[in-house]
Point group: C2
Chain length 152, copies 2
Amino acid sequence: MSQNGAGVDLETSLGYLLKEASSALRAAMEEVLRPLGMSVTHYSCLELLAQRPGLSNSELARGAFVTRQSMNVLLQALERDGYVTRPAKAPVGKALPTRLTPSGRRSLGAATAAVRSVEVRMLAGMTETEQAGAFRILRSMIRSLNDGDGNA
Amino acid sequence: MSQNGAGVDLETSLGYLLKEASSALRAAMEEVLRPLGMSVTHYSCLELLAQRPGLSNSELARGAFVTRQSMNVLLQALERDGYVTRPAKAPVGKALPTRLTPSGRRSLGAATAAVRSVEVRMLAGMTETEQAGAFRILRSMIRSLNDGDGNA
DNA sequence: GACGTTATGTCAGAATACTGACATGAGTCA
DNA sequence: TGACTCATGTCAGTATTCTGACATAACGTC
């Protein structure tokens, strides 16, 4: 394997490895969330609302790394099923602050436990120091990537 | 921010950070690949074929982290447009070994340069030691996640 | 006040990826 | 040989996400 050095070399590419890790994490999360009838984006939305009540659709979209159009589709379903509430009229601007209902909070409970177990499993065998290093390194990557985004 | 310790705590969650980094990388890749009329999966497929000629549809799917059904749709388009070739009959089993055409190789050239620049940008400000650490940590995460996949 | 910029919510359509299902070929084992 | 398991390619339908576009509200500058 890896008999030429012409390309990006998938065996040693940190980008490829990052994608692989993210893919494995997503698969593991989907596996534990499926029995609860919940997708990863679905869970992310609820978790965001639990930690930061009153987030708008656009803010939730940014937090869950999807477009605001996609998040809007999800929010409409969650609202219809009684997991979240949004005021009919914006208190300021156009942003509609969203909040969990008791039903939404209850639904989130089991999901949070399941997801936490996945995260614990992911960090198994890593020391505190290594986890801190991982945190710093990922932050560095994110910052470097976002720096040269659309501007100079 | 982070006013309760009940949830996963997005501010300190390595899982969330991993998703954020992967999302940033994907966005950056899409940005540079779009002018070339190529998606990330599209590029991944071509790059895989360049480094490991003769990969089957299912193998390409695993390498690009999509289902074999999704990869098949892509492969049919790539074959129709003359970027890859597949034998009409499988030399052994059902697997059809896929290969890049000169046109496919040419198309990949510019994309590889663009993607490499993104990866270089991502690693900017990281020492060799840090990159090696990142590699080891990501590998550890992947292994831990895949260990308890479907079995015990 | 008038204007331009930015951010937001929303609608519509297209692209992409997924799940489910089926038939086929190879390998294993009795 | 026959039955079983597994991996593969493929078809069909569904679900999810995206891009493009529009109207509206807040902010800044003139």
